[in-house]
Amino acid sequence: MNLAEELRAELEIPTAFTIPIGDGIAINQTVVTTWCIIAVLFVLMLILTRGFVVHNPGKRQLLVESIVVWMQDAISSNMSEKAQAYVPYLCSVMLFLGVSNVIGVFNIAPPTKDLRTTVALALMSIVLVQVAGIREKKVRGWLKSFAQPIGVMLPMNILELFIKPLSLCMRLFGNIFAAFVIMELVKMVVPVVLPAALCLYFDIFDGLLQAYVFVFLTSLYINEAVE
């Protein structure tokens, strides 16, 4: 098998199992990996938040509280008072993206390497943005906002409705996909030492950075929608 074929094989999203309904519903590896991530995160949440107390918290509780407060502050600091209700969703997405992007370290294909994941996230983000706008401005105000600041901007604003999620989706997918391709190529060419060093950048730094960028942009869009 030559290099191109090996790479093509690595980039394929294999089917994990098929649900025997009708012609069979194929559930791919990304969905299963996501289930595993959710299960692991859920177990960690239960273990880490067990026995939380108001007075004299232990080191574990202080660590969890510090991380959660830091995450919430990092996101809510970009958002106005009206948009604070969306902070838990954005924190959850950041948690998911952070784990999904970094999971490549354990030689597991990141779910964000699959276009379906990034499209789903981008679609949910943009739906949330529009829902936030409608809740704040009501339907009439939301519709009017497309013609602002002047009526001639109407086509641009309608286009923006599709451009924003597309850019969110493609930026995340492109970065993670490209990182995965580069890492696979490096592993094929130089299997030792170099992948470990590059992994620090592509899997950890870039993964966490892209998670933050995705959430940061979504928070900006929500903030813009409610203002």
């Binding site: 194929a26 959660v68 407060v69 996230l121 949910m124």
Partner: protein, 166 residues
Amino acid sequence: MLSFDLVNFVCMIINILILYFLAKKFLFGRVNSIIEKRDQEIKDSYATADKVTKEAQTSRREYQMQVAEFEKEKAQLMDRAMKEAEERKTSIIDKANLEAEGIVRTAKDEAVRIKNVAGLEHDKQVEELVFDVASRLAGQAITEEANSELYDRFLAQAAGKGTGNE
């Protein structure tokens, strides 16, 4: 490689929503609830401290007002007591002066009376002496020398009686 199917796409949306609800309930909910409780307790503590401080300030003001009231009352009582003492002092002194004047007057009257009584006694003695001398003269012949001796004795006796009466 870049395939897209609706089933897995919907599965991903559901997965993300499940993760959101789990994180909201079991992570952010729990942590925020504890932090809110702690914040509430801190706010309650501050509120209690403020309340106690205000109560203490009110009590202090009341105490100061009471002290001021007592001071005022004390000053009034002291003034009244001083006035009463002054009046009593004046009254006692006046009474004492009156009594002293009475005593002095009585003493003077007594002295005058004693003096008068002494004068009368003296006169009576002189009279008795004169009468005695006259009786003796009438009873014997009197010579020039005897007469002179008699006068001398009379004068000596008179002088001796006068000295004894004083």
